[in-house]
Symmetry: C2
Subunit: 121 residues, 2 copies
Amino acid sequence: MKSLLLVAHGSRRELSNKEVRRIGQQIENIAERNFLSIRCAFLELVIPSIPEGVEQCINDGAKTIIVFPYFLSAGRHVSEDIPKIIKEKQQEYPDIEIKIVEHMGAVTGMADLILQHILEN
Amino acid sequence: MKSLLLVAHGSRRELSNKEVRRIGQQIENIAERNFLSIRCAFLELVIPSIPEGVEQCINDGAKTIIVFPYFLSAGRHVSEDIPKIIKEKQQEYPDIEIKIVEHMGAVTGMADLILQHILEN
């Protein structure tokens, strides 16, 4: 009963937000039955907000929510803002496990993926 | 005679800039002889700037420079600012080929990498 919440910054350019949702959709296409639901939420400017995204996952029936910060570097948003918001939601829902995993920039395999991308282009 | 220039935004948090340089280093570790040099440059706040990064690649002896925007979404920086800077350098060095490849967020395989990361954590 696990949901994935992809958390991005949010942009005034709707195209940027669409890119985030597209990645969410692509993950959904390959995730098979690993997740009850895969949702996107945004730190700023765009809805759903992170608290709203958490609520959506809970409404989906999730007992565990994996929060994935879709950020390349662990700036203030990743190291402070997102954990603070998640901590508040965790206190509101003590029976739900809400777990933040490492942000995009720290994912093992990024260098390989970049090299492959560049050599193919 | 090809160099790779990894272009990131640049942050006031030095840790964020270090993450970019670490990715550059990781690519260098696996790139074997595909590149003459692999360098990082920053759009704002941090040196080397993008023009300086291009100069470094040329000083390395590059005849082709592959510019990789290390950004998750094609906001204004990716769609306007970086191309504008590169266009100016291209006019300054007509004998060098400077090529911008698609930004990180558009790289095929991102969804697979994210899913793998999340399932392993």
